[in-house]
Symmetry: C2
Subunit: 181 residues, 2 copies
């Protein structure tokens, strides 16, 4: 019988955290080009991973909120390929990369949870991509609903959902109104 790993990896990671850090809005956790020395978990607030473009605009690669691990892939890189900035005041736990890798090596269970975590992230990131290939608000919402098992978003969340779908709030409101009619 195959045992499927479960449990929240972020929590396991937090148990091993070495430091905590309070970040004010606008504070940087790291910059592009910095050496990767730690693994970070956002406990509260919001930290965004952004990659500045040549033309001055920026791409947001990840928007990390409660219990989200930041820039997982950087664990295996020498330097960061993006900036991390608190877009809201945030509380961040951290663990040195060497300690993290040592944990992976010596703790089989921890290592498996890490893989499971990464696999889940792959899955949800792929799904998000596919939602965004849809061109109309209607199709994107349909795809999103399939992903969340068709529970309609509560009114307070509409704006956030609209952002996840990559559409303007107005367009989203209109689509929701259309569905009620």
């Amino acid at each position: 019988m195959i045992i499927i790993m479960s449990g929240n990896f972020a929590e396991h990671l937090m148990e091993r955290a070495e430091k905590r850090r309070v970040m004010e809005k606008g504070a940087f956790l790291f910059h592009e080009g910095d050496e990767v020395q730690s693994v970070f978990i956002v406990e509260e607030g919001v930290v965004e991973l952004t990659r500045p473009q040549l033309d001055g605009t920026a791409i947001t690669l990840q928007r990390a909120t409660d219990l989200t691990i930041l820039a997982e892939a950087s664990v295996y890189s020498r330097v960061y390929h993006c900036d991390a900035v608190a877009s809201m005041p945030a509380l961040v736990s951290q663990l040195s990369r060497s300690a993290f890798l040592a944990n992976l090596k010596k703790d089989q269970h921890f290592s498996e949870l890490w893989s499971v975590h990464l696999a889940k992230e792959v899955q949800s990131a792929r799904y998000r991509s596919e939602i965004l290939t849809k061109k109309t608000v209607r199709e994107r919402l349909d795809a999103w609903l399939a992903f969340v098992d068709h529970d309609m978003p509560a009114k307070g969340c509409w704006k956030n959902v609209a952002e996840q779908l990559g559409v303007s709030p107005e367009a989203f409101y209109r689509e929701m109104a259309r569905r009620n009619a």
Copy 2:
């Protein structure tokens, strides 16, 4: 000193493959709801992962071509959450899940490569998402170029790139023409 793992995980996986399978166009590798029993690597051809929707349309979650591992996340699931169908004739290697997991357990190096592979997939999937949140062809191409270090796509690839960007070929050709002018 931290050793960063490198090498192609798919190749390591193929070395351990137990079976090979030739698939005709349109043939299914597995269906939604099937028990996960194997890990698959596409050697040649194309296999697509699709998730049928209520309205009859389908979401394509992954389009696997040469040396791509199929549905990584399914390794940790009991059943598949999507269909896998060859959209072109394909050659697929497979390894039973139990053997795969056993390899992960006993071979530290293999296990690390697996994590590195997953981390890279997370990274590229996230990047793809962010490209797709851009609304105009121009912005999407800019973001894509930043990702591939600004090497312009060769003419034979344009159609493929257009698809990656989630825009129609025509719109893509026009944008490329605009940039030459």
